[in-house]
Symmetry: C2
Subunit: 364 residues, 2 copies
């Protein structure tokens, strides 16, 4: 039997730097745990645009659909800010999400004990925080038609369409309920049903799926504006949050920042399972390409490494190995090893991106 | 000459309770400062639905268009949760905004010194915070067509439309730049131009208005998801934020909660100036109808009182009197007078809604 395959797309900015550490970790699992992967590397985002004139080539797209998991670093950078909308680095990422049909975006917002002081929130509000945001990722205003800018009379009009079908809502709701069953069995669904009809449909379908298939899970509904407030006020009231593509974008970033350790947060984007029950999947850190620190050895590789841990868990059914990797990261943090973004008033041992990779490998 | 006219719409839940204190304050200004207003009171929201079967009657709408300012308490409550979308309490408020053409919604997020400890954020992150969010209020996904839920094949589809014209963006941008000139001369505009064409138009128009008419104001652009992060991470980096209706809804609530004193925050919704230069205007607290504490004398009337202060400033050109009222509120807080929502570990003198009105009147 051949090894499971991974397509690595380091992308732009600090993407390649943090991904280099992940590659070392993948190698370690192959050597020490006999978990071998066939790894190939390709371009996405600005890097792909520079070579191919598009932020994702058809060949890369085709490979992404064939492999067992995609690991992505980050896309974008000031160099590409003035590109046409259709070839912006982001379009490469959005194409992957859409064509791989990665409808369920898992964004854990977790506060690491060793880093609780880094949050702008009071320690007791965030310590022990462990939320999972499930964001719908292939529909809504990100992909709805009609869209664009056109002329009406002598002025321009900008249009986007928020559009959700019942089945699109149902499948992401199921994915949230499934996750909740493995956690604290509690889901909060967020929309603006008081203002948007698409929000009414969202609320109704989530409730129907709940009543028919997951009556054992505790379900609540909240308006997204109140959701933003409650995340700031008392985030620990939440376990799993399920919401649409656009609210998910804003609320998951808000939740991520609560933890104070953006450089730590991974994400998984999952699609439908294939014949062997393995979902189409893309894993990426929540942080961006960080052009300001690119090439300086300052980037924190942990979010990207923990994204690989999510791959072990969700794509390769290696939950125990995922936990091993997560524990190694926790140990390193507890030992006070810190990349630049984690250097706080409490001191700690400053390390570069590569050195962080070193100590995590040691801890493994 | 007749007195300026005010239409009071207390609405639902704690709306009538907090508005009762505002009425006393209006009377005080009439008696003590010779600032007399012709005040009339009417129904909105669930209260209007109960009487008229609609959340805002045509008569009330007509009066709102005639008076010099509208003061609104709050709308909504569990009793009305299952009403049809078209007659929900919120529709009353949305009709007022739309027909009065109140395109510029000013939402200050201000942290009161005496209350800095109430924030879930660390004191140094929020103390002295003073942001003004300018939210577009009459367009975008709140009002765009097509909208609704319809059947496609055998499934339901929910649709809303985000739609912005150049002139809609231009006028709210101007209102943000004007405000910035009276403050720290700094505007940050937020959208998702990396994903939405309406966001591209937004960014372009804001930049054009800036370059042509307000080159002296410092302008920056930020993606709304990053905006949510930055609000949590370091809110004091902002002065004026301008954004669309939906992002404004979520981001202003997020910003409001940073201050830890939601019961304190007023808002103004302004339209075009009439012949005398007075804008159409509606003032309301940022907090909701708070059904859980309705009728218990626990509600904090300060947000509603400060909304009247905004009316003094923006509708009646009585900036000095507005400041007088704001100072009275600050004094009362500094003295440790506290409604239930403000009772913290530091003690303080607990008071009811009416007693809070009493002490503010005394302080005046
Ligand atoms: C880069 C951008 C297109 C993307 C999004 O808006 O979804 C990012 O913000 C994210 O949250 O993954
Ligand atoms: C009550 C509701 C319609 C309203 C909105 O969504 O605009 C509220 O949340 C607000 O922010 O004023």
């Amino acid at each position: 039997m051949s090894n499971p395959s991974i397509l690595i797309l380091p992308g732009d900015g600090i993407g390649p730097e943090v991904m280099a550490q992940v590659t070392r970790i993948i190698d370690w699992f192959g050597e020490k745990r006999d978990l071998k992967f066939d790894v190939e590397t390709d371009l996405v985002g600005g890097a792909a645009y520079d070579k191919h004139g598009v932020p994702l080539s058809d060949e890369t797209m085709a490979r992404a659909l064939e492999v067992d998991a995609v690991l992505l670093g980050a896309v974008g950078g000031p160099k590409y800010d003035n590109l046409d909308f259709s070839v912006k680095p982001e379009r490469g990422l959005l194409r992957l999400r859409k064509e791989m049909d990665l409808f369920s975006n898992l964004r854990p917002a977790q506060c690491f004990d060793a880093l609780a002081d880094f949050s702008s929130l009071k320690k007791d509000i965030v310590s022990g925080l462990d939320i999972m945001i499930v964001r719908e990722l292939t529909s809504g205003v990100y992909f709805g038609e009609p869209r664009g800018i056109h002329k009406e009379g002598n002025e321009r009009v900008g249009i986007n369409t928020q559009r959700y079908t019942e089945s699109e809502i149902a499948r992401v709701a199921r994915s949230a309920f499934e996750l909740a069953r493995k956690r604290s069995n509690k889901v909060c669904s967020m929309e603006k049903a008081n203002v948007m009809e698409s929000g009414i449909l969202w609320r109704d379908v989530v409730q129907e799926i709940h009543d028919a298939e997951y009556p054992d899970v505790e379900l609540s509904h909240m308006y997204a504006d109140n959701g933003a407030m409650q995340l700031v006020r008392a985030p620990k009231q939440f376990d799993v949050i399920v919401t649409d593509n656009l609210f998910g974008d804003v609320l998951s970033d808000c939740a991520a920042m609560l933890t104070g350790s953006l450089g730590m947060l991974p994400s998984a984007s999952l699609g439908l399972p294939n014949a062997e029950g393995r979902p189409k999947a893309l894993y990426e850190p929540v942080h961006g390409s960080a052009p300001d620190i690119t090439g300086q050895g300052k980037a924190n590789p942990i979010a990207c490494i923990l994204s690989f841990a999510m791959a072990l868990r969700y794509s390769f059914d290696e939950g125990a190995e995922a936990t091993r990797l997560e524990k190694a990261v926790e140990k390193v943090l507890a030992d006070g090893v810190r990349t630049a973004d984690l250097m706080g008033p409490d001191g700690g041992t400053p390390v570069s991106t590569t050195e962080m990779g070193d100590v995590i490998l040691e801890a493994l």
